[in-house]
């Protein structure tokens, strides 16, 4: 170190001094040098230089495309080298030097005029969580062209009376069961006592799918859930069995065992069926596999599981139990829940994932709680909570509007439509005479079916857009059937 610096400094200084001298020396001839280069490229002589910088001359009309800084730099370098060459009398021949200069010029004419090394850290930054949607999207859609943006509906009529009422005798009045579901193929499945009925919403035909406990024993259906294809139905039974039915062939495909008590909650995510039972156990079944149980989620709940919902992305599973707990599970991790939420004061049955905002979950509590709470399932934070003054039995988000429908028990037995996030009450739909246990949304997203302990099934057109154009092609049949219904007025049909 000590011997190195004294050697280095004078040399460096000398160099710098010389360069400074060069600079000074070439300060005055600089325009000449520039001019010379221009002369070199053009054979004829320019008589006089035009002084105005903006106009350029007639041979180089536009100087905008030229990088004058780089040109100046290379010129200066050349003259510096010439100067140095005369001093140190380089052994390089002039042609070789020219070649070297050109080579360097062509190699280094990138935006980095110096050579460098590009390095990156080996351990990369983590990817954003699965299903993450850029929150900035809102900013880009806000000022969209009005022609592109869907016309804003200033006012939407919400019919206060049900569109249709069906009798549902022997519907078990049990808060912990999930007995209603509407398939993607427009078929409604409802369990009445020990029998599952399918009601085709397009044609209005009724079909008995199965009866539980036909081997002599007493049994009843505790839950139904349609698979995403709308063809297969999972049926949970009081005998702790889960059956899988092909509803086109009217045939039981397989039986899934694993629970030791009744299975009150079912939810599908692709080929995965999750089931929650009175044994406080949640099982994930891959219905394609022989060994169907892919995950056992145990120890989180202490009592019966009555609410179970997969998020639309399939990344998270929400489970609610009679132990007043709500758990959010990561799809990839079944050992422990992602979040354990104990803010409800009663059983958590009503669960609904928001369709327009990822990671937003709405949950409703039972009689002692009466609250609808909103959760950010990424952080587990409570976003909002409102007291509904009544037991919350079921929740259903609107697929089109930012609205949430909740169904309640004592004392009004009503359905409430809320605006989100203001939670202003838009409508209150009364008609049921006992608590409204189940809600199901039609595949076209306009109608909600509600099944209540008064043994009726009512259809409410709460989310409906009035325009026929918004009805997807696949559900035109239903729209036609509905039009027919409206002509014949309100009908009451007995399911059996």
């Amino acid at each position: 170190m000590a011997c190195k610096t004294p050697v280095k400094t004078p040399l460096g200084q000398a160099c710098r001094e010389r360069r400074a001298a060069n600079c000074q020396e070439y300060q005055s001839p600089r325009p000449v040098a520039l001019f010379r280069s221009a002369k070199k490229s053009t054979p004829c002589k320019t008589p006089s230089r035009i002084r105005s910088p903006g106009k350029g001359d007639r041979f180089i009309p536009s100087r905008r495309a030229m990088d004058l800084d780089v040109a100046h730099f290379t010129l200066m370098q050349e003259s510096a080298k010439e100067n140095a060459g005369s001093h140190a009398s380089d052994c390089l021949s002039p042609t070789k030097e020219e070649y070297k200069r050109q080579l360097a010029g062509s190699l280094l004419r990138t935006d980095e005029s110096e050579q460098c090394r590009i390095l990156a850290f080996k351990h990369k930054a983590p990817a954003p969580p699965e299903g993450h949607v850029n929150p900035m999207r809102v900013l880009y859609s806000q000022n969209m062209d009005p022609a592109v943006r869907p016309a804003k509906k200033a006012f939407r009529h919400i019919p206060s009376a049900p569109e249709r009422i069906l009798d549902a005798p022997e519907l078990v009045d049990d808060y912990y069961l999930n007995l209603l579901d509407w398939s993607a193929r427009n078929t409604l499945a409802i369990a009445l006592g020990s029998t599952v009925y399918l009601w085709n919403a397009a044609s209005g035909t009724i079909q008995e799918l199965m009866e539980a406990g036909n081997e002599g024993g007493e049994d009843y259906v505790t839950s139904v859930a349609w698979a995403g294809d709308g063809k297969h139905l999972a049926v949970g039974l009081g005998s702790s069995e889960v059956q899988l039915w092909d509803c086109e062939a009217n045939k039981q495909i397989r039986s899934l065992r694993g629970h030791s008590a009744r299975v009150g909650a079912l939810s599908w995510s692709g080929p995965t069926l999750s089931s929650g039972g009175r044994d406080s156990l949640i099982l994930n079944h891959d219905v394609r596999l022989r060994e169907h149980i892919t995950a056992r989620m145990t120890g989180a709940h202490e009592q019966e599981i009555c609410g179970l919902k997969w998020s639309p992305s399939g990344a998270q599973l929400a489970s609610g139990g009679n132990d007043n707990l709500l758990h959010v599970w990561d799809a990839a991790q079944s050992a422990a829940p992602l979040h354990r939420i104990d803010q409800h004061q009663a059983a958590v049955k009503a669960l609904a994932w928001c369709p327009f905002q990822a990671n937003l979950l709405a949950s409703g509590g039972g009689t002692a709680d009466r609250c609808i709470k909103f959760w950010n399932t990424n952080t587990g934070a409570c976003v909002n909570s409102i007291d509904t003054h009544s037991q919350v039995c079921a929740l259903q988000w609107s697929p089109t509007e930012r609205e949430l429908l909740s169904s309640h028990g004592f004392s009004q037995n009503q359905l409430c439509l809320w605006k989100y996030p203001s939670m202003a009450k838009v409508a209150e739909l009364t008609g049921h005479t006992a608590r409204v246990l189940h809600l199901a949304l039609s595949p076209d997203g306009t109608t909600v079916a509600s099944a209540a302990a008064d043994e009726t099934l009512r259809f409410w057109k709460v989310f409906g857009g009035n325009d026929a154009a918004s009805v997807p092609a696949g559900t035109r049949g239903k729209a036609a059937a509905k039009a027919q219904d409206s002509r014949s007025g309100l009908r009451s049909i007995n399911i059996r």
Binding site: E112, R117, K122, P129, N134
Partner: protein
């Protein structure tokens, strides 16, 4: 008090390195937030540069940045760092969609002989503030990152610098058909940082 005020005006190489490193940390965080690379709830607000800045709280991101920035500060101290680039690339296609480049020019004399420069803290802060504001405002012209993206930091170092064991050589990951917007720059008189953003702009090429 008087001495504290006096020393603040002097900028040493070490102090300048600290300022620039800290700036990179906050700049990266605010780009991650403004461009929506990570979910909003992973960010928390802190007061910095007289602004309210958003800082990512995800532990893995924090850990990554800590390790990268400590190396960056080492390079800054030796004057080896020429450029720091934040690359935003799609997770699915690996295509580079955005490139935030910070060119760094180091005052050679400060590195070699340790001379100090004079510039007030306030002045530097207001320059940094202007860049941060520009990053925030950038969402008005940058296109929406419609797919999930990750980011990566590239350091352009002098060719003669050694490669640390935890780092690897990378290509420049340039964007084809890009549009570039030059942002403001700031200087501590020891380090001069010029910011620039390049983004994918398909329409222009057609």
């Amino acid at each position: 008090m008087a001495t504290a005020g006096a020393t603040r005006e002097t900028i040493t190489l070490k102090g300048s390195t600290a300022i620039v490193t800290e700036f990179f940390g906050y700049a990266v965080d605010s780009i991650l937030y403004q461009r929506g690379i990570y979910p909003e709830e992973n960010f928390t607000r802190v007061k910095k540069y007289g602004l309210s800045m958003l800082v990512c709280t995800d532990e893995r991101v924090r850990d990554y940045l800590k390790q990268v920035l400590s190396q960056i500060s080492e390079w800054l101290l030796t004057g080896k760092l020429q450029k720091l680039v934040l690359v935003v690339a799609s997770v699915a296609t690996k295509e580079v969609l955005e490139r935030w480049a910070f060119n760094i020019e180091t005052d050679k004399e400060s590195v070699q002989t340790g001379t100090t420069r004079e510039k007030s803290d306030k002045e530097i802060m207001s320059e940094i503030q202007a860049i941060v504001r520009q990053i925030t405002a950038s969402i008005t012209f940058l296109p929406l990152l419609d797919e999930t993206c990750t980011f990566d930091l590239l350091a352009y170092t002098a060719a003669d610098s050694a490669v640390p064991s935890t780092w690897e050589e990378s290509d420049a990951r340039l964007i084809n058909k890009s549009a570039e917007v030059k942002l403001r720059s700031f200087s501590t008189k020891v380090h001069q940082v010029d910011a620039m953003v390049a983004y994918k702009n398909d329409d222009e090429g057609d």
